[in-house]
């Protein structure tokens, strides 16, 4: 297959950046999107055309959340429920123009080319996205009963990989789905209920502070989440927020 790539090139955080055009031929349809970029880089190195294109990637099986490219107007490309590394070239047509951009958000500054800094997500988790435990001194696992449907819902919310596609997709660069998923995961479990009200307050405050936008119920995040995390989690976040304002579960 043959493609024309338009890739965002930006030497460092301060540089201006621009789109660069590359033609690529002889790509197998079974090739993954990132492998296609590997091939491009191999050529850029062999022919000494330019510095290879920098892009984040690691596990290449859709679980680490490291990769994330904005491809032809969609985070993680034109398929549902996948990460960029799970996108295959068979999803494109021969001769397609492919525009590749980094995640765009104030909270995710570009480091180089397509690599962005997502440490804002870590900071939100550090604000309270955990259950306070210290090692040891916990009860036997089976003394905490969790209804199966609750455990399943918590698992669905917990499957978030922190890739940032929700922020990238949102017209407001909002992190509500990310925060909603973590708040839901923990609030659905009896272990996490104790700190629920406190947690939601701290995480939302941190999210606002870091410059993420707010939710306007467009649900692009839900459409682009590689782990298919649902908007109901945002709703639950809102509910818990109201609860925390009204003093429910207040410590």
């Amino acid at each position: 297959m043959r493609f024309t790539l338009h890739i965002w090139r930006q030497e460092n955080a301060r540089a201006k950046g621009h789109f660069e055009k590359y033609d690529l031929d002889n790509i197998s349809a079974d090739c993954s999107f990132l492998e296609m970029l590997d091939i491009l880089n191999e050529r850029l190195i062999n022919d000494r055309i330019a510095h290879p294109v920098c892009f984040d990637n690691d596990c290449r099986e859709g679980i680490c959340g490291m990769c994330g490219l904005y491809i032809n107007g969609r985070p993680h490309g034109n398929d549902d429920g996948i990460t960029t590394c799970q996108l295959h070239m068979r999803k494109f047509k021969d001769g397609d123009d492919i525009w590749i951009e980094p995640w765009r958000a104030k909270a995710f500054p570009v480091i180089r080319d397509l690599v962005v800094d997502r440490s804002a997500f870590d900071k939100i988790i550090q604000a309270g996205g955990y259950i306070s435990t210290t090692t040891g001194g916990v009860p036997d696992a089976n003394t905490i009963l969790v209804p199966k449907h609750k455990a399943d819902m918590a698992m669905d919310a917990a499957s978030c990989i922190g890739c940032g596609a929700c922020v990238a997709a949102c017209k407001n660069a909002s992190a509500m789905l990310f925060v909603g998923a973590k708040v839901s995961h923990l609030a659905l479990l009896p272990q996490g209920k104790v700190e629920a009200a406190d947690r939601v307050k701290k995480m939302v405050a941190k999210m606002d502070e870091l410059g993420f936008g707010s939710c306007t119920n467009t649900y692009a995040c839900e459409a682009e989440c590689p782990k298919l995390i649902k908007r109901q989690n945002i709703s639950r976040l809102n509910r818990h927020w109201i609860g925390s304002l009204l003093g429910r579960d207040r410590r």
């Binding site: 032809n72 107007g73 909002s174 119920n217 649900y219 509910r239 927020w241």
Partner: protein, 214 residues
Amino acid sequence: MNLPKIHSISKKILVALLGAFLSIFLLFHACANLCILRHDGGAWYNAFCDFMGTNYVIKAFEIILFGALLLHIVLTIWLAITNKMARPKGYHKPQRSKTHTGSKLQVWTGILLLAGLIAHFMDFYFVKLGWVDGNLNFYEQAHEKFQIPHIAISYLIFFVVVWFHMRHGFAAIFQTFGLYNYKYGKAIEITGVIFATVVCLMFTAVVVGIYFGL
């Protein structure tokens, strides 16, 4: 820009709360309008307008209503600005994600609504306040205005915009209040469409009824 600190979700909740309030008002307004369709020379409708224009409780309520409207607008604009600031550099390729179009249109339908509302006030409310000339008998005023084709059509377009704004707004209110869940999600959306449709049909009935002299 330094804005006073209200958390993003709180702002949204306020917008939703005010939206819910305005929706209920619209339903009330639409019901009252149906009186025009009585062929009684405006007896009921004018009596109603008279009550609305003179009762002090209603007058107080008017202030709350305008306050709500204003706050709804100010908060949304505030949110829109902070949301714009959250992505200083945009994408080259327009977004192709599957989304609720209603939401993306919400700001624009909101602006259209504001323009429409001012035009509507020029026809009725400002007349009452004496800011513009016109017939203070709103029954007759309605008949005069709605028989002019371009005004009637403008109103119908206005109602379509109201429909879009309310359809998205209704389900969004539930989402923002945290009441949207796996069980009732679908039902809420359907109810939203029904609510918006019923309200808008009631308004449309009056305009169409007068235009065709039904």
